[in-house]
Symmetry: C2
Subunit: 346 residues, 2 copies
Amino acid sequence: MLEKYVNEFPEWLNAKGKFADIAVSTRIRLARNIKDIPFAYWASMRDLKRTTDMITSCIENIDMLKNSDIITINELSNVEKQFLVERHLISPELPSSKFGSVVISEKEMISIMINEEDHLRIQVLSSGFNLFDTWKILSSLDDKLSFNLPYAYSFNFGYLTSCPTNVGTGLRASVMLHIPGLSLANKIEKLLPALSKLGMVSRGFYGEKSESFGDLFQVSNQITLGKREEELIEELQKTVSQIISYEQEERELLKKHGSFQLEDRFKRAYALLLNAKVIPSKEAIELLSVVRLGILLDLLPPTPLERLNRLLIIIQPAHLQMVVGKPSGPDKRDIVRAELIHKEFL
Amino acid sequence: MLEKYVNEFPEWLNAKGKFADIAVSTRIRLARNIKDIPFAYWASMRDLKRTTDMITSCIENIDMLKNSDIITINELSNVEKQFLVERHLISPELPSSKFGSVVISEKEMISIMINEEDHLRIQVLSSGFNLFDTWKILSSLDDKLSFNLPYAYSFNFGYLTSCPTNVGTGLRASVMLHIPGLSLANKIEKLLPALSKLGMVSRGFYGEKSESFGDLFQVSNQITLGKREEELIEELQKTVSQIISYEQEERELLKKHGSFQLEDRFKRAYALLLNAKVIPSKEAIELLSVVRLGILLDLLPPTPLERLNRLLIIIQPAHLQMVVGKPSGPDKRDIVRAELIHKEFL
């Protein structure tokens, strides 16, 4: 059912955005609910179907969502569900919904989850560090949806959501940062607590609960209430700009004081990626992180950044399984992963 | 002083001997002392000099030792002393002697340590699994020396030696085995205790007290008393033949059931050896061990075995320092080691 996505390249991974050497992608999502229909956890099947119908019927009239796919999660295989999670198009929780769906726009820029925790989770993804443009698109989409959908809204609290942490703006904005320079300088442990003082939070590459590896950190706002959307985004903009400039400084230092030890690190990681016959997922991401920095510091052969971004996604288990075409154990996947990586670097 | 040795290739590393894919080299040594001169530990400087003179003066008349070098250890720098130890030409203990020397024959086949624990330690080294030929050479050399040197000998005990463990024949024969097949099959832990029941002992690549790594085990006789030389050698011959056939079996199994995991192991080690910019000594030996097996199983590009043997020797610290030409810390050596390995594999 999702065959077309296997060979498609999501636009937000094309590395054409600002500071794409450090900021992989920007994502903003809004949580919205429809007035007078119970929130998804308490809704009956009839309620959920009604929500779905209301949302999908108004989508056709919105230009940005032309040619979107509307996918009913229950109709997917487990691998396909996992594929969409790995692709950042749905949350790991959506498959637990009694009647969840997702609307995916062309080039995977927009996804709307229906009947996850909230009736709607509207997400816009874009390449690089691109909060304002991404917000512009999302805000305009939200306006268009609100013409047709009566949102649950309180003048005191703002948008009402299933979980109180989202009440208010219902907005979560995040930037996926690759900061191996700060990691090499052992400055991550100081950075993360500082973020939480600023009302920000950092997560791993794979969403809410995942630990972080491969020096990939998704920095987002923690607070959604009591501030305007633009304020939240402005604050995140400032914080991320600061982190990017710290990372740039570290990279400059590495360039200036380059050592055999550093070059050794890069050369080894590159050699392993190109020669291993079996690579577990976590190791692949760690090696890709090292190699990415090595390439950006001109200590490894040039490779387009978009290809490295693509690898971060396609080496994941469900992606590999979709490529292989049939169910396969982790051992087989580790072999296919290695072959796939060799191909990408050829 | 030892410049000529840096570029020389010891004959015993040429991989031309029998079973050279498993047996790197064979070594036999005899401990001998001169009658009526105190054993080396109790000898005065005058005694030690007299011993040295007696030995070196009779060497000139022995064909096998024509063109030998006679090297006084005290005249060497610390690096040069260590170089000879790494080269298996002297023991780590000889430099502690008040007046030690070593006679080294052409192509490093024979070495005679003077005033180590015993007045003479006569050693013959040869390629592969070659106990009988090696013994023939050593025995003939010992005969020739005994014409001119009055050996300390007791009809009850045999040859008298400084340490009681060598009394009798004064013979220690050993074969350096590379047994990564048995190691992969986790059979080393069973093998080693079985050896000691047979009166054999196993040591690492670098002599008496060294731990073993790189799957290199030097198997030798423990007992020197109560048996004839030929019996001791015959027993070692049997034991080593057995170990070689076990190793061959394991390698056949690996060939037959070759897996991606196995190939992965080889490809990774090879990639690291060829690409690392910094390689510590121990890691280099471990990687070389894996690569050697991979080459022998035709899972890596062919490389002459003698070049792999040579690497085992020349990657050691003093060897590297002799190549660099000036004193250098371990960091610098790890860099030079990496460069040297790349060159050997080109």
